[in-house]
Symmetry: C2
Subunit: 174 residues, 2 copies
Amino acid sequence: MIELVTLGMLMQGRMSGYDIKKITEQTIGIFYKMSYGSLYPALKRLVEENYVTEEETNDSKNKKLYAVTEKGQRHFIEWLREPLKANKREYMVKIFFYDYLDEETRLRNIGDYQRQIARQLEQMNAVQAVVSKELEQLEHKESYYYRVSTMHYGLNFFHMENEWLKQIMNKKEF
Amino acid sequence: MIELVTLGMLMQGRMSGYDIKKITEQTIGIFYKMSYGSLYPALKRLVEENYVTEEETNDSKNKKLYAVTEKGQRHFIEWLREPLKANKREYMVKIFFYDYLDEETRLRNIGDYQRQIARQLEQMNAVQAVVSKELEQLEHKESYYYRVSTMHYGLNFFHMENEWLKQIMNKKEF
DNA sequence: CTAACCATGTAAATAGTTACATGATTAA
DNA sequence: TTAATCATGTAACTATTTACATGGTTAG
C-alpha cells in the first residue's frame, strides 16, 4: 500500500520523502497514515524496482528528489484500475487518485462498489429492524445503549457513503 | 488490539474461538476485522497471561470454551478507560464496549473526543474555503473532481461523526 | 537564540494476513 | 450426498509502528 500511495503522490511531480509525507497528511490523512519508518524503506524499494528515480540535490538541505518513471506510472494505473473492495480500507485512497483513471473504468468501479454498499445497507437495515424488536421486549435497555448506538453509527455511515457514491457517479457539483 | 477485542467479547459470557469471531463480525465487523490466524494465537497468549481460562468440551464437536477471569476483566476495563484517540481506528470498537464502563469516565472520554473532532471539523472547513477559492481561478476544474470530492467526503464524515458524538453524550433515543 | 520545521534514515518490535491442513456436524 | 457451517490450528510472510539517531534551516 505505502508503495502505491507514494507512487500516486509522485504522479503530480518530483518531490522529497519529506514532502510526500506532508502532502499525504494534508490530502488523505484521514484515510491513510504514513510514517517515515515505512516511507523511506518503500522509496528505496521503488528505486530498486525502477518505479521511481532518485536525484540528490547538493544544496544546503541535502534532500533527495524522487520522480515516478513510466514503468512506475503503468504499475500505479494498473493498481488503480482494480475493482474497489468493500472491507478494504483502501477504497477512499484509490478514489482520491481517480482523476488519473479513464472515465469508463472509474464509472464501472464506482458503480460496482456503490451497489455493494447499497446491498450492505439493506442487510444492516434488516438486522436493525430485528434488533429493535428484540430490544423492545428486554428490561433495562439502558445497558445496551452503546452497543445499539454503534449499530446506528454503522447505519448512518453506510447511508452517507451510499449517497456520496451516487453523487460522484453523477458528477454532481458541490 | 486483538487481545482486547477478544476479552471484550468474552465479557458477555464464555464461548469458543469460532463464536468470538462470528459475534465480532456481526457486531463490529465494519470497524474491525478478525482472522483465525490472529485469534487463536491471541487466545493462547491470553490463557498464558491468566486473562482467560480454557475449558475443553469433550462432546462431539471438540471445541474449547473460553471465559474471562477477574484479572482479565480488570485489564480490559483499564484499556477501556483510556482516552479515545482520534486518528486511531479503535475508538468505535471502544465505544461499542462502553456499556461496561462507568458513566463518569465515558462522558469525559466521549466529551474530550467530540471536542477534538469539532476542532478538526473547523480546520477542515477552513481548508475547504481556501481550496474552493483557489479552485475558482483554475482552468479545467474537472481534472480535480475526485480530489475535491474526497475532501467533501472527509467533511461529511467528520460532520456526521460530530453529530453522532453529541447525540450519544446526551443519551438521545434513536 | 531558540523553537519550529526541514530532512533522512535504521533497528527492533509489533501486528496481522494468507495459505495451508484437518476433520466433524447439519440441513436440504 | 453434498454443500454449508462448525471447529481449531500453524507457518511463512507482509506490513507497519515506535523509538532512536543525526543534523541543517528559518522565522520571530
